[in-house]
Symmetry: C2
Subunit: 225 residues, 2 copies
DNA sequence: TAGATTGTTAATCGATTAACAATC
DNA sequence: TAGATTGTTAATCGATTAACAATC
């Protein structure tokens, strides 16, 4: 059932393949070779084939890959063929943004939004009403929830995360400024999103890039006009 | 002035060091060794020293590092010692979330917010009023802006990005579902944030992790109760 | 000084790229 | 079949870790 020992680097690239394959299908392309895809994505064809062959031979010699089939397979590997009920904790701007994002089409269905601010109680995000955080344990007793998204301040995050784990949550998408994976049991899956760190990387590159000297791994292959 | 050939992996870790050093200072710790820091951050002491020595010897043998000085130095490397005027294009939920995020304390100052929706014109995000996108070129003529944040739909992103570059913008923080760096001149710095890819990674781990078998690079060192 | 811890070189490990036989 | 392109092994490259001399 499960694939063993796939490196983090490979996993990180799968969603990008998935997106490019979707784009190709949208533009009517049904067949793609690793060579063509490598040109579009600016990665080596070798890497694409190597990555995919971690999971099986999805291509055909002399032909390439069927874009639709390949996308489906990658989707399955990523678990996008299943619906993942999700709650959002923290109904501030970011929580609202994520609630309205449209992840549904990939199977991430927002089934509850929670906050501690009584002023937000009952506010609708799409078709879900904001509930008070103290109703959460009961909610988790009565609903299947796979993923909890944390858009709350850092100081609240650890306590809430522990409460979630107590109540059976095994996957946390964390936007608080702390590394929750270091604090929770090993069988809880955490994806930390540190937006400020992303902005700092941009700042570094902005500060340190000189013309024609890209630091992001993409070679300055040609001088565009 | 500028450091040459620092790998992307090293740069990616700097913001995290910066955050941990800030946390240490907040809890009253002024002195830290690579060994202690490595324990807290779950990385090797060797990596910490190796990383820092790309930029200079910030420590002292037999003593360790002065947390305050080190944080300051990393801040300088990341360009956080300067103010970076920033605009946000797209005043939807995500744009509002970022406008209210509090990046100011790291020097990222929101000086303008733009949208194409007339209903949003004049809406205040912190102390900045939303302006119409067609006012942007004139705005850029009259204001210094370093970073443009794009929180707009994918289909609009490429056109807007090209317009921004035409008007002198050299750094884009992109939240649209497309890889702008592949489409813009090489001297434009782009940081793509693909939230859906982050969620897909979480989904993969959720789908493929079995007890005690973490896929995120952190060893299952002990069975917590 | 003795002890501690850095800075830095060398060794290892893992990931990427190249090459090519297999095969559609 | 001939041509194309995969799947996969081997070679290279880069990043991480280990080790230890330098030195505070």
């Amino acid at each position: 059932m499960r694939e063993k020992g796939i490196s983090k680097a490979v996993i990180s690239r799968l969603p990008r393949y998935y997106r490019y394959l979707g784009d190709l299908l949208d533009s009517g392309v049904e067949r793609i070779s690793s060579g063509e895809l490598s040109e579009r994505m600016k990665v080596t064809a070798s890497q694409i084939r190597q990555d995919l062959n971690n999971f099986g031979g999805f291509g055909q010699q002399g032909y390439g890959y069927n874009a639709r089939v390949l996308r489906g397979e990658i989707g399955k590997i990523l678990g996008l063929d299943k619906v993942h009920p999700m709650i959002i904790i923290g109904a501030g701007h970011l929580g609202q943004a994520l609630g309205n994002y449209g992840f549904d089409k990939n199977g991430f269905k927002v089934v509850g939004v929670f906050d501690i601010n009584p002023d937000l109680a009952g506010m609708k995000i799409r078709d879900v009403s904001v509930q008070m955080l103290d109703e959460l344990p009961e909610f988790l007793d009565n609903h299947v929830v796979e993923i909890a998204t944390l858009t709350i301040p850092r100081d609240a995050a650890v306590g809430v995360a522990e409460m979630l784990v107590q109540n059976g949550i095994r996957a946390i998408w964390n936007f608080a400024h702390t590394d929750l994976n270091l604090l929770l049991p090993d069988d809880v899956v955490v994806e930390n999103v540190h937006l400020s760190e992303s902005l700092m990387r941009l700042s570094y590159n902005l500060t340190n890039v000189v013309d024609g000297d890209r630091k992001d791994g993409h070679s300055p292959d040609s001088k565009k006009s």
